[in-house]
Amino acid sequence: MAYSEKVLEHFKNPRNVGTLNKDSKNVGTGLVGAPECGDVMRLQIEVDDETGMIRDAKFKTFGCGSAIASSSLATEWLKGKSLDEAMTIDNMDIVEELALPPVKIHCSVLAEDAIKAAIQDYKVKNGLAVTEESGVTTA
């Protein structure tokens, strides 16, 4: 199976690889997937206290090229968005942008789950109302 140009590009030059301080109050962390399944994504957002906007996003991913590209793209999209805007990112947007084949759709689902998990973690930490949609395990 050949990868799309966009997946290859993100794989070769992944954006925003790294780690934010998960103990910081304005950092939300989402850890989704399982090593046994061959994919683990950790996606983190840092929210600006003043504006409520996501000012930084970082990821680390254990997985195939599509999983890495999906999480790299997600961090790119998250930066500068409000939490509400971030909640609207849909896995099919990722599928479309990266031209993922059907067998790799689960990578985009995982990225969406990671986004929602990170937002939920941030909201829980800061005593904000949690929407039902973001009910994903966090770590």
Partner: protein
């Protein structure tokens, strides 16, 4: 790293056709295009002579009589013919087949098919090193057992089964012994008669011959084994496999067998030295694991897990330069990691993190040096990206985390 020619370390999938084999085949496409079953003119005689000669070359490689070689389209067909053919032919004796969980799909799926036809199949587990436990095998044999089918060498790990010991157990209980020897024939000595194998499947394209031609060895004396044909037609191959013979393919198969017989030992010696160099180089990396029995193993194969790195992602770091296979789910459409490694007790996570290196006749030392460097860089790069590597380094117990299975 500088860009260079593609390095091929996937010889267990298929080998390139040796140029000497190609050369031998070429006349049989046009000038000598006859049907080996045409008895009435020189084209047919010429083709039949060529097939007879190839049969001798192949029989010589495995210590058989040429009448014991049945040509097929490949090892998958040979495995089908062996198991289905024995199941039908020996139905009066019983319906019980013994095999192992780590067999190739061509055996596993054939056995599953036969289960639906009324066969009882015992699936032996393997030990951590990939070999079957002989006591388990002997305990599984019962009066209705007709055949034991165990592969000579595993395609993913290169692990070699204790063939002689298995044969002794089969002999003692009067049970047929079939072996899928696809990965072994032409690379290590595989003398069917001396070993005590009664049926043996193998194929040309794993030993530098062409694709689309294989053989089933069927013992003709002590014991005289028969299989029921699975392909009806003109009664070729002593009635066991109808169908016009693939003459150019068979000529190539014969030539490949002749070359293998002559060069096997020097090839194996050279490749095991290169394989050891590769293996030692890669096992220098921390948190790596060699999969399968290190000693009872094909000389050209190494299967290594690189913990906390996913195999397919890892391959993407070097697949512009190096071709090989991964035990990761993602290389197939199934999303399941290698069942062979899982059967050996590896966790799914380690199976996802494995790469299979299979060297071949055309692998050079420069290829290996480049590969060690490229894989080392790839593993280090992917670990930088890996959250579970970071957690491992921070001393987090990964088994205590509640992962979200998906």
């Amino acid at each position: 790293m500088e860009k260079r020619h593609m390095i091929y370390l996937d010889n267990n999938s298929t080998t390139p056709c040796d140029p000497r084999v190609v050369e031998a085949m070429v006349p049989y496409f046009f000038e000598k295009h006859g049907n080996a079953a045409s008895r009435s003119h020189p084209y047919g005689w010429e083709a039949e002579d060529a097939v007879d000669y190839a049969r001798e070359q192949i029989a010589a490689l495995i210590g058989a009589d040429e009448k014991e070689i049945i040509f097929t389209s490949g090892a998958t067909e040979s495995n089908n013919l062996a198991l289905k053919g024995v199941f039908e032919m020996y139905a009066k004796k019983g319906n019980h087949i013994i095999t192992a969980e780590t067999e190739h799909k061509a055996i596993i799926d054939t056995c599953k098919h036969l289960e639906k036809q009324g066969a009882e199949v015992t699936w032996l587990k393997v030990q951590e090193d990939g070999r079957v436990n002989l006591a388990d095998l002997e305990a599984a044999i019962k009066p209705t057992t007709i055949v034991v089918s165990l592969m000579w060498a595993n395609n993913e790990t290169g692990v070699i089964q204790p063939m002689r010991e298995i044969a002794t157990i089969c002999e003692k209980h009067g049970v047929l012994f079939h072996s899928d020897a696809t990965q072994a024939v032409g690379k290590i000595p595989t003398n069917a008669r001396e070993t005590g194998v009664h049926l043996m499947s193998f194929t040309a394209h794993k030993m530098y011959g062409p694709k689309g031609v294989g053989a089933l060895y069927v013992s003709r004396k002590n014991p005289r084994v028969k299989v029921t044909a699975q392909m009806d037609g003109g009664g070729h191959e002593r009635g066991m496999r109808s169908g016009t013979l693939n003459v150019p393919g068979i000529v190539g198969f014969g030539k490949a067998a002749e070359i293998a017989k002559a060069e096997m030992h020097q090839d194996a010696e050279r490749l095991s030295r290169l394989r050891d160099k590769l293996e030692n180089g890669l096992l220098q990396l921390e948190e790596t694991k060699l999969n399968g029995n290190a000693e009872h193993r094909m000389p050209h194969v190494a299967n290594i897990s690189f913990k906390h790195v996913e195999g397919e992602g890892l391959m993407m770091t070097f697949n512009q330069n190096i071709a090989l296979s991964s035990g990761s789910a993602c290389t197939s459409a199934s999303l399941e990691p290698s069942y062979v490694l899982v059967a050996m007790g590896l966790g799914d996570d380690l199976a996802h993190s494995s790469l299979r290196f299979s060297l071949g006749r055309f692998t050079t030392e420069a290829d290996i040096d480049f590969t060690i460097e490229a894989i080392t860089q790839g593993v280090n790069h992917m670990r930088e990206l890996s959250p579970i590597w970071e957690m491992y380094k921070d001393g987090v117990d990964l088994t205590k985390i509640e992962w979200t299975e998906h």
